[in-house]
Amino acid sequence: MEIDPFIFRLSIFILSIFIGYYVVWSVTPSLHTPLMSVTNAISSVIIVGAIIAGLAGNSDNIFNNSSIFGFLAISLAAINIFGGFLVTQRMLAMYKKKKKDK
């Protein structure tokens, strides 16, 4: 009997939880706020689903009731992606080492 592809996806999911567990414990507490903003940005990779949904409309009817939700989701996810990565960048740029000449 063949293994259902779902099982493979489930394996990836479970193993990723463990990777997440160990990686996040090693994040230094002083960077917990950037951690939240960057996880925010990366979870917006949900935009891939939104793009598929948006492009599903046929050419004479681009905005049907299903693709319009896709388009809206693209904008929402894009706010998060740009906002999340840029604000993380801005925060991380502030974490500097002591400079003697300052």
Binding site: N40, S43, V45, I74, G84
Partner: protein, 465 residues
């Protein structure tokens, strides 16, 4: 058009890049590189999606337009937002992830052919279950984050909102979510799908309203976790590895942060979630202690004390964020350092309104991160320090957490501020902190209370140094 296998490989690569993005945060030196990996992973994922759909018709232009609109709004917010507003921003962003998950699920439900999930009214059972979970968790994330945002922003009162029968009602709704999901899978009825979304929005709202403002670090971390699980649910529906990996990473990340925050308050997760803390905990001992005398000082006294010290430890709290005093504080510290006084900062895990909130504010004020210490690292140093300068913090310094088993915060890890030779408290008034309990430190022989706005007081002290 990209083959399904090749695009799966690319999604895997972007998943790995996201892991590296989080890995980079283990130290400030590698963090910027980590963020770059995250951006790279996102670019790969989006590009691959375009190529795999391969439909460069007029719809493609609209995708770019909507992407650009969102991107511009996001970039604008990212550049404009003050660092003190970071908790609100993160809560707002969580709500967007939740809503995006809901929208994608709706779209997949209405047009399953586009995602290879079957046809309307005949969606594959597995996909329908995954879709329902993604949509329900997304909806909870959305409405919960909206409430958290409103509370943090001050539009809604930060005090807990409780009513009779709250817990039975919530339990009932949670059970009905399971029942509706089951019926939805059995009948494929569109109406049930909308009902499921509606009650999920409702429960997200009801779950967050009873939680008080100071418990927000736990709530934000928890919603962070939910947004991850929602993304993972959608990832299973779309059979997309990048989404599944990311969802799992974000989900466990948020869960760990909630755990750390709960531990920082010595409270169980359920205790926080069931809410109501702070509203009811006006302890009996508060009344008589109000009569005790406190030593009231001014900026000159504080400056005198600090000038004669050889080491000073600064304990910032939410009050510093409210008063935007971080820059004034750093200027004061610069002056102290010119006088060869050793200065370090002590950060309690739950100081502020989100994990790491104080660290970001100090970093914004150009405080080098190697002068900033966590509770365990610095707690032994208080005994050797001359002055503790507590600015906008209260409960996290309360010795009652160690000595008084009756205290609601008993057992919570606190900073050993009382071991310092002298203590300076910058506070607006003698009012107790969010836990509604009195702080014995206020009445100690060697404590000087500085009643003023944190920013103004810090500036005045600098002038007097």
């Amino acid at each position: 058009m990209l083959s399904a296998n090749l695009s799966a490989i690319f999604y895997l690569i972007s998943g790995v890049l996201f892991i590296l993005a989080l890995r980079g945060l283990s130290s400030p030196e590698t963090s910027r590189q980590g963020n770059f990996f995250g951006i790279l992973g996102m670019v790969i994922a989006i590009t691959v999606t375009f190529l795999s759909v391969g439909n460069f018709s007029s719809g493609f232009i609209y995708v770019l337009i909507f992407l650009l609109i969102g991107g511009l709004i996001g970039a604008y917010i990212a550049y404009k937002i003050p660092m003190t507003a970071m908790p609100e921003l993160v809560a707002g962003f969580h709500s967007l992830v939740g809503l995006a998950a809901v929208f994608v699920a709706i779209s997949a439900f209405l047009n399953p052919e586009a995602f290879n999930l079957g046809s309307p009214g005949n969606i594959k059972l597995g996909s329908l279950i995954e879709m329902s979970i993604g949509a329900a968790v997304g909806a909870v994330t959305f409405s919960g984050s909206i409430i958290a945002f409103l509370k943090l922003q001050g539009i809604m009162s930060g005090s807990p909102i409780t009513f009779k029968g709250q817990h039975p009602l919530n339990a009932l709704i949670l059970i009905s979510i399971v029942v509706v999901t089951y019926l939805l899978c059995a009948t494929q009825s569109a109406n049930l799908f909308w009902i499921l979304l509606a009650i999920s929005f409702l429960i997200g709202f009801l779950l967050i309203i009873p939680i008080g403002g100071a418990d927000m670090p736990v709530v934000i971390s928890m919603l962070n976790s939910y947004s991850g699980w929602a993304a993972a649910g959608i990832g299973f529906t779309l059979e997309n590895t990048a989404l599944i990996i990311t969802g799992a990473l974000v989900g466990s990340s948020g869960a760990i942060l909630s755990y750390i925050m709960c531990k920082g308050m010595n409270r169980s997760f359920f205790n926080v979630i069931l809410g109501g803390f702070g509203a009811t905990d006006q302890t009996s001992s508060t009344g008589n202690k109000e009569q005790k005398p406190v030593k009231n000082g001014n900026a000159e006294d504080a400056a005198f004390l600090m000038k004669n010290a050889s080491s000073v430890i600064i304990v910032p709290g939410y009050g510093m964020a409210v008063a935007q005093a971080q820059h004034a504080l750093r200027e004061m510290v610069d002056t102290l350092k010119k006088n060869d006084i050793k200065v370090s900062y002590a950060i309690h895990p739950v100081a502020g309104r989100m994990p790491g909130h104080m660290n970001v504010l100090l970093a914004e004020a150009n405080v080098p991160y190697d002068e900033v210490f966590e509770l365990e690292e610095i707690n032994n140093d208080f005994a050797n320090a001359d002055v503790a300068f507590v600015i906008g913090a209260n409960d996290v310094t309360n010795p009652a957490a160690k000595t008084d088993p009756q205290s609601p915060i008993y057992g919570m890890p606190v900073l050993d501020v009382e071991k310092c030779k002298s203590i300076l408290f910058v506070k607006r008034s003698l009012s107790p902190g969010y836990a509604g309990i009195d702080n014995d430190l206020f009445y100690k022989e060697n404590t000087l209370m500085l009643f003023a706005d944190a920013k103004k007081m810090t500036e005045d002290i600098t002038k007097n140094l």
